[in-house]
Amino acid sequence: MLSREVMGALALAILWVNTWLIAAATYTQRKALAELLRGLRVARGRVDSGSGPSGELATFEVKQVGRLVEGNAPAIAFHDQAHTSRIFGGRVALHEGNYADVPASDHGEVWIDEASFREAAALPGESVFDAAAGEAKKARGFGHLVVTPVRSGHEVFLGALSAGKPEECPLVATLDPRVWLRRKMAFAWSFILGELLVAGACTAACLRPPAFGASSMVGAGASLAFFLLVQPAGAWVRGFLVVPSKAIRRGTWTRRGAAEDRASTRAANSTQSERG
C-alpha cells in the first residue's frame, strides 16, 4: 500500500519539477532578451521625412480578423493573423544634432508602443462598425489591417538588432528599446523569484507539523491551486516577453451608441409604464 508520506513526496516532486521547468522557460526567454540588449545600438531623433507611400519612415501592420462577440453592447473582437514590419527608409533628425539616413529594409523590425497601436486600431466611427458587423457575423469574419505609421514629426529610436540573426537587422521603434528590454528582463526575474517563493511557501505549509494535519492540508490545497494557476501565469509571461514586432495585439471595437440607444429606450419605456 502506498503511504501518505510516499504520495506526498511524489506530489511535491511533481510540483517542483513543474515549477522549475516554468522558471527555466522564463529564464531562457530572459536570456534571449539580454542578448538582444547586448547587441543593441540606439540613436534617438525625430522623423524628418519618409519614403513610404504617404511619407512614412516605417509602418507596423497587423492583419486581423474580427468576429462579433456576446456582450451587452455589440462588439467585434479581433484576432491577430500576421505581423509585418516595413521600413521604407527616410531621414531622421537626431537629437545629437545631425541627420541619419535610414535605408529601406525588407528584414527590419518596427517596434510600436501599445498606445500608438491602440490609436491606429481604434474604431473610426459607428458607420464603420455597422459595415464591418455584417462580415464579422460570418464564419470567416471581418478582415482588417491595422497600419501604424511612423511618419514625419514622430519621435523614434533607431537601432540594429544583431543577436541570433545572420545579419544585422535594422530597428525603428516608437519606444525606447533599451528601456523596454530592461523592464521585460526585470519582470522575468521577478516572475521567476515570485514563482519559486510561492512554491516554497506552499511546500513549507505542506510540511508543517503535525504531518497531514490542518495546516498541511491548507498547504496541499494551495499547492494544487498553485500547480494549476502557475501554468497559465507562465504562458501569459511567455506572451508578455515577446518583442513588440511579434507580440499578439488583438483589440475590440464596441459600438457604444447602440448600448446607449437601448438604455435610453429602456428608460423611456419604464418611464412610460410608470406613467401608465
Partner: protein, 324 residues
C-alpha cells in the same frame, strides 16, 4: 452456413439495434471509461486498493479516458444527443478539464495546424529547451493554458452560447464532483484521484508533440508521426494512425488502420511510421539529448500518386458548421 451470434455479440448488437451506441466498436471505449472510474472509486473508498498497481493502472486509463474524449468529440458514441452531452461531462471528470474544449482546440485548430493565421495552440515549437526530454515534460505547461485561453476567446463569439453552456456544465460537473471527493477524503482524493486525472490530461497534450515534432505540417501526408503496432492501436482505439485521422476526421476510429494502409503508407516517409511508441520515446527523449532536426519528409509524398484531398480551410469550415 449461417452464423449464430454468441450471447455477448447478440447483446452488443442489441445495444446498437436499440440505438444506444452508434457503432458496435464503441463498447471498447465504454469499457475503458468504466474500468477507469472503477479504479478511481476503488482507490477512493477501499484503502487496500491504494497501491502502485492500481495507481499506475489508473494513470494509464486516465490517458485512455482522454483518448476517448478525443474520439467522442469527433463522433459522439451514443445515438442520443443528450446522452452524448452527459457522457462529455463524465469524461470531463476523468480528465479534470471540460471535454468540449476539444471542439475548438483539436477539431478546428489542431487538425488544420492553424488558428486563423496563428500557429496551432499545441504546436511543437511552443517549447524550445535544448534538452529534449524537458520539452516533453514541459509541453503541457504551455499547450494547456494556450488551449484554455483560445477556447475562452472562441466561445465568446456570437452564436456559440450553447457550446458555452455545455462547457460550463462540464466544468461544474468535473470540478464539483472532484470537490465533493475532497470533502469526503482530502488526501486520498489528492493522491489517488487528482494525480491520475492530471496525468491523463497532461499526457494527451504531450501526444501533440510526440505526433508532430520534426514533421512537415505544411504537407498533406507527412504532417504526423504514426505508431502502427497492432496491440498498441487496439488499446489506443487506433489513435496511433494519426495522419489519416487528420486528413479524414469524419472516419470512424475503427476504420483508421485500413485507410492508413491504403492512403497513407504509399505517401508517407517510412520514418514517420513508427512500430513502437515506447521505443520512439526512449530513442527520442531518453537516449538522445538534443531535439531531432526536422528532415525533408515530403519526398515520399512527392513521389507517390496524388490523391484528392479537400483543402484544409474547406475541411475546417465543414467541421465548424457541425460543431457544438
Amino acid at each position: 452456413m449461417g452464423h449464430w451470434p454468441t450471447p455477448f455479440e447478440s447483446g452488443r448488437k442489441r445495444w446498437v439495434r436499440g440505438r444506444l451506441l452508434k457503432h458496435p466498436a464503441e463498447g471498447r471505449q465504454l469499457g475503458i471509461v468504466v474500468a477507469y472510474l472503477g479504479l478511481l472509486a476503488s482507490m477512493e473508498f477501499v484503502p487496500a486498493c491504494r497501491n502502485v498497481a492500481f495507481l499506475a493502472a489508473a494513470c494509464l486509463l486516465s490517458f485512455l479516458n482522454a483518448v476517448v474524449i478525443h474520439n467522442h468529440l469527433h463522433q459522439g458514441i451514443f445515438e442520443s444527443r443528450r446522452l452524448n452531452m452527459l457522457w462529455r461531462a463524465i469524461l470531463s471528470f476523468g480528465a479534470l478539464y471540460p471535454a468540449s474544449a476539444n471542439v475548438p482546440s483539436h477539431n478546428l485548430v489542431h487538425h488544420h495546424f492553424d488558428d486563423d493565421g496563428q500557429p496551432d495552440w499545441a504546436a511543437p515549437e511552443i517549447v524550445n529547451f535544448k534538452w529534449n526530454l524537458l520539452n516533453l515534460v514541459h509541453f503541457p505547461n504551455v499547450a494547456g493554458p494556450n488551449t484554455f485561453a483560445g477556447v475562452s476567446l472562441w466561445k465568446n463569439v456570437k452564436g456559440r452560447t450553447e457550446f458555452g453552456r455545455q462547457y460550463l456544465f462540464e466544468n461544474v460537473f468535473a470540478f464539483g464532483l472532484t470537490g465533493l471527493l475532497f470533502v469526503h477524503d482530502f488526501w486520498t482524493t489528492l493522491f489517488f484521484v487528482v494525480i491520475p486525472q492530471l496525468y491523463g490530461a497532461r499526457c494527451i497534450l504531450r501526444i501533440n508533440l510526440i505526433q508532430h515534432d520534426a514533421c512537415d505540417v505544411t504537407s498533406d501526408w507527412n504532417h504526423s508521426r504514426n505508431f502502427v503496432g497492432r496491440a498498441f492501436n487496439w488499446v489506443m482505439c487506433n489513435n496511433g494512425y494519426h495522419t489519416i485521422h487528420h486528413n479524414r476526421a469524419g472516419l470512424h476510429w475503427s476504420e483508421l488502420r485500413e485507410a492508413h494502409e491504403r492512403d497513407v503508407v504509399p505517401r508517407i516517409d517510412p520514418t514517420l511510421d513508427e512500430p513502437s511508441m515506447v521505443k520512439y520515446l526512449l530513442r527520442t527523449y531518453v537516449f538522445t539529448f538534443a531535439r531531432p532536426k526536422p528532415k525533408d519528409v515530403g519526398e515520399a509524398e512527392r513521389r507517390a500518386q496524388p490523391l484528392a484531398l479537400a483543402p484544409r480551410m474547406l475541411r475546417r469550415a465543414e467541421l465548424e458548421a457541425t460543431s457544438t
